[in-house]
Amino acid sequence: MFSTLIDQFWSLTLSGIALGFIYVLVSLGYTMVYGVLRMINFANSEIFMFGTFATIVISRDFLGNVDGSKSLPLPKLLLTMTLCLLGSMIVSGLVAVFVEFVAYRRLRARGTNKLATLISAIGISIVLSESMRIITHSRPTLNPRVLEKKSLFEIAGASFRIDTVLTIIFAAVLFLVLDRFVKFSRLGRAIRAVSMNEDAAKLMGVDLNKVISATFLIGGLMSGAAAYFYTLTYENTKFNVGFTLGLAAFTAAVIGGIGNIRGAFFGGLSLGLVEVYASSILGTEWKSVTVFIILVLVLVLKPNGIFGEAVQQTRA
């Protein structure tokens, strides 16, 4: 039972970290929106899903790439990758802004209770995933391979494949940029002010609607980047791809303390590792069950997460 885990420990660790970085990026969408709204963004998994489709549509339809065993020539490869990453981020970001506008804004303006907003968010998430299901006829969509996945180097039996390395490096960079942005930029300060005290922020002249839209946009951009790296690694997507991944990313956000951006980093990485180790012991079919049990355990034992929520509020 444990022999796979021991034999392939380092290579499992590596893929756990790569998966963890995807979780980090998606969980930022949950954690940032939660920070300003004190509400779960139920449609985040669909925002991610749209990103994966955007990547494929750009690479396959706009750039006309077909599946090949060899990498594209370098200039075209770079162009494809940049366009796909940016396109995926932009599409996800726009979907996120759309979600906020349709499902949250009107209800917030009227000051309805939380239940109503939750239900409306679930509704929009169903609408998004069902439209994609109908468009794609429930079939999985393949991402043409443009990058030959050769191993760059090997350490202790773990082979550092080029897509794994790219995912880790770019996700880490994006996370650092976001962290600095929220800390130092004017908009970042406004976001933090709203998450600390909405009323006080409003009195200080922060435009609440603008900040909330911007938060959704940033969360969407991050989920879109995650979607790009996901399609790069797994090379296919489906209308319900966001469901399990969204639940896992939400779990990651909760582990790190929802609302806490740096917490999401550690939450994502630790969940990625735990998930990979657990599937090597129990088998991949129990993967989502493991994630769910971790979520319930964290919520029951340490509801503020390991690193604590950004703002204490255990019940509202």
Binding site: K114, L118, I122, G123, I124, I126, V127, I134, W286, V289
Partner: protein, 349 residues
Amino acid sequence: MKLLNSIRTGNLRDWGASYWDNSSPTKRKAIATSIIGFAALAPFMGFGLLDTPVSDYGAVLVYPVGMFILMALGLNIVVGKSGLLDLGYVAFFAIGAYTMAILGTRTSLNTWEIMPIGIALAMIAGLILGLPALRLRGDYLAIVTLGFGEIVRISALNTSEIGGPNGIPNIPVPPPIGPIKFSLNDQKAFFWVVLIMILLTIWMIRRLSVRRAGRAWEAIRQDEDVAELMGVHTLKYKLWSFSLGAAVGGAAGVLYASKTLFIAPEMFTLNVSILILACVVFGGMGNIWGVVLGASILAYLPERIRFISDARLLVFGLALVITMNFRPDGLLPRKKREKAIVKSAQKGI
């Protein structure tokens, strides 16, 4: 005149309530009997405008219409009465169905003997999930119940002892009650059983609403912290509401398995939970008649209008967003008196 006025203002609920309150006991009995009689005759009205081109009219009345009403009423106890968002309601439906399938194919017990076992197991599952989950605040509860619904399905999928992805075939139909026989070809008997279960559930909810439990749920829905400060044992009543909702879901599951004769994990996806939630929300959270109306419309329309049936879930998702944005109280809102309390409570704080 009053009726016209209430149609214009869109508040049929209050008109109905005041009409009922002003009626004499004999008149009330007459109204109730005629409504129940009318509903019981529904299987004979499957012609003309009401007929369903997509599937057999008699079957449509049992599933989805009857079953959706039953489950929506059960979920309404949780979502509408106590304000707890449960997105894993399908889990209890699945537990009821699997209880029926396993016991029905492996023992000599019949549907009516399995019914209480299925209900009990669903309630126990409700308690097991509720004990940790109901301590959490609303949005966490939603995502934990959502996960739970998936976990039950995945566990059924991965357990080969109960058929794994192939499910369980050859589930027996209920034994005949007197001259009434149950068969797949003629589903009138199933419809009457569902109708009786719906009436029992409505009766249970109405009785509970005016008693201690109903008042506790109302208090929890409006403000949980205040309710707790006033001495309401919130966790206990939330657990009650949760497991009563689960019991109705379990009962529906037992009957469903006994009706379709075959069940498989893919029948119990998150979609079912969302469909039922849409029925509750669209009709009017917390109001029995609203829920019945909402579930009838949302269950019946996709069968009547062909192009909706392909995009059923899309329509239900839209129903959720649009209802919440433009008519958050649903088609038939809860009583004005109850709403007035909420309003003054919101203003007071």
